[in-house]
């Protein structure tokens, strides 16, 4: 193999598994260390800079970082990254003065943001400090989009939501709430320099063809519409017997909300096997903890209506069969149809995009699935001044993905407004600094804590089920947060190898607790992976390969289960190994350095 090019900013980035998995690439280990050091404000600001909504995400994020956590590969449970983020938000001090301070000198450009959800708000935050005049339109009474209408208050208190939405709106954003935009043509006619569409995936899927749908309509609700109606206090109760159709996080929010509005016998019924449900495992656990039964492998057959009133639903039991490609098919079993009684049914089987307000003759192309054609990198549509982001761009995802889209769309809009090439994007900010403090001292806690994952305490069920707005999770206290933070392996403390200093004493290879380092003859990657002390079978993880050493061998380090304990560097007599902190940050629009003045010839 060729020596690894560690100057490629993505090499060390990939070693920080959590950050790499995060759509917004939040520097996770950096803020976890700050939490351990009780520097909550600083930890919050690192988050805010990167993911804009630390308090919201610290409660509701889909956490793509956690399954990626290295701890999963050496222990079992990942670091509770998400809930540590919440600790930073809960314990922080005054932060507003650390954010960009308005009023900002105008740059004479005007931007319209359609929809007030996480994607639009991110664009607003990134562009406001640059002097853009930003007009935000939303049909709801306040900003936040689906974070306000669909995430129940027992998971996300309104105060937390308002606080973080207001940090952005207070930057001088012109808001027009309770305003449904019914025509893009109208918006375009108002001479905006660019338009950003962050309208989400606002339409809940229905089962229009299922028998009984029309007759039982009074007792059948679309999940996200029902949740919004609860959030805006139009709906205040539900019947005792409730069926929730669907297995995603919206279904979990529906069933748990139903329990709080009078639902006593709430059942979730889902087509797929329990394990394959789309809901996050912890959301399923929380639902079951609130006495909600989950019936898997049940395909709906009909709504049962008697005397014009819904009395339940019939289901066919199925079992999942997989072909050799792993494709799933649900095969009906011989068991008889199942009747589940219910007074009301909530349909939470997915969401769709819907753009009835975009005229199709504007030069903005739609594809065969009636989705706008949007560039994956620039988020630009085929109408150059219109950009998309969040669920509106490529279909339903999650808040953190919407934020990541927002950052990139803001960069594009900024480049577009300056007449620059949208594909010439700013490189990430990176920094690699030695953590050596003394002969055998590092600036981070290199000892590996063997503690198992700590559980976030919850308020008692007897209290939370009575009050829809009472937050269930209490968050870690400071002491537990410290212990949980110490579980972090500091994967951003990179093991940097300098072959010119290595005397091949093998000390690093001998001491490495997880047998990551091998000195051996060079070969092709597949062969090399087998020749290591322990074969490197996890191909998603790279090998760090040195240049040829004095004895003709090479140093190979399998990044897979490295604990970043620093023992290789401590036992290295010549500092050929060094622990260096790698900081990687996606460049936001307001961080793009101004171009240097042209030199006069």
């Amino acid at each position: 193999m060729k020596p690894t090019n560690t100057r490629d900013p993505e090499y060390y980035h990939k070693v920080v598994d959590c950050q790499y998995a995060c759509p917004a690439h939040t520097p996770v280990p950096e803020y976890i260390r700050l939490i351990a050091a009780e520097k909550y404000t600083e930890a919050y600001m690192i988050n805010w800079e990167s993911n804009v909504f630390p308090g919201i995400l610290g409660r509701t994020c889909d956490r793509p970082c956690e399954p990626a956590c290295r701890r999963v590969r050496v222990e079992k449970e990942p670091v509770a990254i998400c809930r540590l983020k919440r600790v930073a938000a809960d314990q922080k001090g005054e932060v507003k003065s650390l954010m960009p301070q308005g009023p900002f000198a105008s740059n004479g450009k005007k931007i319209a943001l359609i929809g007030g959800g996480p994607a639009s708000l991110t664009v607003a935050r990134d562009l406001a400090p640059l002097g853009y005049e930003i007009h935000l339109f939303d049909e709801q009474i306040a900003g936040g989009g689906m974070m306000r209408s669909q995430i129940p208050s027992f998971r996300l208190p309104e105060t937390v939501l308002n606080e973080e939405v207001d940090y952005i709106l207070d930057m001088g954003i012109h808001t027009q709430f309770l305003t449904y935009v019914s025509s893009l043509k109208d918006v375009l006619s108002k001479k905006y320099d660019a338009v950003f569409v962050g309208t989400g995936a606002p339409r809940g899927k229905d089962l229009p063809k299922l028998p009984g749908r029309k007759d039982g309509a009074a007792g059948i609700h679309i999940g996200i519409e029902w949740l919004a109606s609860v959030a805006f206090e139009h709906t205040k109760s539900i019947s005792p017997k409730v069926i929730v159709l669907g297995g995603g996080n919206t279904a979990m929010d529906c069933c748990r909300t139903a329990r709080r509005l009078g639902g006593k016998d709430v059942k979730v019924v889902v087509r797929s096997p329990f394990k394959e449900m789309k809901a996050s495992p912890w959301e399923k656990e929380d639902a079951m903890h609130e006495d909600i039964q989950i019936f898997d492998n049940h395909v709906p057959l009909s709504f049962e209506v008697k005397d014009g009133k819904l009395i339940g639903m019939k289901f066919q039991k199925v079992r999942a069969v997989y072909d050799e490609k792993g494709k799933r098919e649900l095969i009906p079993t011989d068991e008889p149809e199942v009747l589940i009684e219910a007074d009301e049914v909530l349909v939470a089987i997915g969401q769709q995009n819907s753009f009835p307000w975009i005229e199709r003759d504007l030069g903005l192309d739609f594809d065969e699935w009636d989705m706008p054609v949007v560039d994956r990198k620039t988020f630009q549509s085929t109408l150059p001044k219109v950009f998309f982001g969040g669920d509106a761009a490529f279909g339903p995802e999650n808040v953190i993905t919407a934020v990541a889209h927002g950052h990139q769309a803001a960069v594009s809009i900024h480049l577009f407004c300056q007449g620059k090439d949208l594909l010439d994007r700013p490189s990430p900010f990176t920094n690699l600094v030695s953590q050596k403090m003394g002969i055998h001292e590092w600036s981070y806690d290199s000892q590996i804590a063997a503690d198992q994952r700590y559980i976030v305490p919850q308020a008692r069920k007897s209290i939370t089920l009575k009050d829809r707005k009472k937050e269930v999770e209490l968050g870690f206290d400071i002491q537990t947060a410290y212990k949980e933070a110490q579980r972090c392996l500091n994967c951003d403390a990179q093991t940097v190898f300098s072959e010119d200093r290595c005397i091949e004493c093998d000390a690093c290879m001998d001491v490495c607790p997880t047998s990551c380092i091998t000195f051996t003859a060079n070969a092709e990657e597949d062969e090399l992976r087998q020749n290591l002390l322990v074969p490197a079978e996890n191909k998603s993880q790279d090998l760090l390969v040195s240049d040829t050493l004095k004895t003709g061998r090479v140093m190979i380090k399998d990044e897979d289960v490295c604990l970043h304990c620093g023992l290789c560097a401590e036992r290295c007599p010549t500092s050929a190994w060094d622990m260096q902190k790698y900081f990687y940050s996606v460049t936001k629009a307001y961080q793009i350095p101004a171009s240097l003045p042209a030199i006069q010839k």
């Binding site: 290199s446 304990c565 007599p573």
Partner: protein, 350 residues
């Protein structure tokens, strides 16, 4: 500075016949200088015992004083250990061996411990052919007292302060052969591929197995001009053979170049395969070995590998006809067989 090893290990760490991983053979985290050759030797011992599937509780590590003699703390943490008096490790090892010959014994010593203060003990333990793996971690200096030249420092070798050693070196391997050691090998801490099979063969060898391991002292004797530095040893190393140790019942045939391979059988059925690199040398002929060592010395080469082996000589316990059963398992009836037996013995002296 880290004092504790992390508890986590590679989830796919291989297991040996006993179901143990390398972890069960490791000791605590070394406090020797970073890059010390001794740590590599410790790691080689760990690997040799792991690969031979030796029960850790059936091993005893006995050492004297010095950097080398600290190492038993850093390997085989689940085995017996005795850190004895300076240069007196052979006496303690002999006593232990006589009391229980079921254990595998490692005598761990250094150039100061064996070639200076312990020279008297060293020569006698060889002469008696005690069943032990005697490892000398040889760095040519007194690392624990700031790196003065030791008795194995080569004449002309320059130490860190720049002074040149005026005295002739004691060649421990030649001396061991001279005194009748039944297994003599030389190796380099930086060459585990050679050291591990040598250690495995030494463990299986029924008698005194001596391994002189050149082990650079990174702090005091790794400077230009030193003949025990990593660079010097790598440039002057000359292996007698490429070898492979084959345990009982697991014979692997390797195709060596014709006329260049040799095989030494041990009494338990295991074998040492040697791919000879030096043609006028026979590991079972003392004269050829002494010649090879002298020739290497003239050429300023460090001859490594298995130098000499003789599996016919009786080890000390057989010479003295020591009981097979460890003393701690002898019962009163064994030790006091009764009046009748005593009379029988007395009859023999009349």
């Amino acid at each position: 500075m880290s004092y504790l090893k992390p508890l986590f290990s590679h989830p796919k760490l291989p297991k040996n016949k006993l179901g143990y991983t390398l972890k069960e053979y490791e000791g605590s985290l070394s406090t020797l200088c970073a890059g010390c050759g001794h740590d590599s030797i410790s790691a080689a011992i760990v690997r040799a015992c792991f690969e031979l599937s030796i029960e850790p509780h059936l091993v005893a590590k006995i050492s004297g004083i010095g950097c080398s003699s600290k190492t038993p703390t850093y390997f085989l943490g689940n085995s017996h250990g005795f850190n004895s008096v300076h240069g007196r490790m052979p006496s303690v090892a002999t006593g232990a061996n006589m009391a229980n010959k079921e254990l595998v014994y490692f005598g761990v010593s250094g150039d100061g411990d064996s070639a200076s203060i312990g020279m008297g003990q060293f020569v006698h333990v060889i002469r008696r052919n005690l069943n032990i793996v005697y490892v000398v971690m040889n760095n040519g200096c007194y690392g624990l007292t700031k790196g003065q030249d030791s008795a194995t420092a080569d004449r002309g070798s320059k130490n860190k302060s720049g002074s040149v050693n005026p005295f002739e070196a004691i060649d421990l391997a030649s001396m061991a052969i001279e005194l009748g050691a039944s297994f003599v090998a030389q190796s380099f801490s930086g060459d585990k591929q050679q050291l591990i099979p040598l250690l495995k063969a030494a463990i299986q060898h029924p008698g005194f197995a001596f391994i002189n391991v050149i082990s650079p002292c990174v702090t005091f004797n790794n400077n230009p001009g030193s003949t025990k530095s990593y660079d010097y040893v790598r440039e002057h190393i000359e292996a007698t053979s490429a070898l492979d140790f084959v345990p009982v019942k697991k014979e692997i045939r390797v195709n060596y170049a014709e006329g260049a391979s040799a095989e030494v059988g041990l009494h338990d059925g295991s074998k040492i395969h040697l791919n000879k690199l030096s043609m006028d040398w026979d590991p079972e002929d003392r004269i050829s070995v002494v010649n090879a060592l002298q020739n290497a010395k003239v050429k300023e080469e460090i001859l490594t590998g298995l130098l000499y082996v003789n599996t016919d000589w009786k080890d000390l316990s057989r010479t003295l006809n020591i009981t097979d059963s460890p003393l701690n398992r002898l019962k009163e009836s064994d030790l006091c067989p009764g009046t009748e037996e005593l009379q029988h013995i007395n009859e023999g002296f009349r």
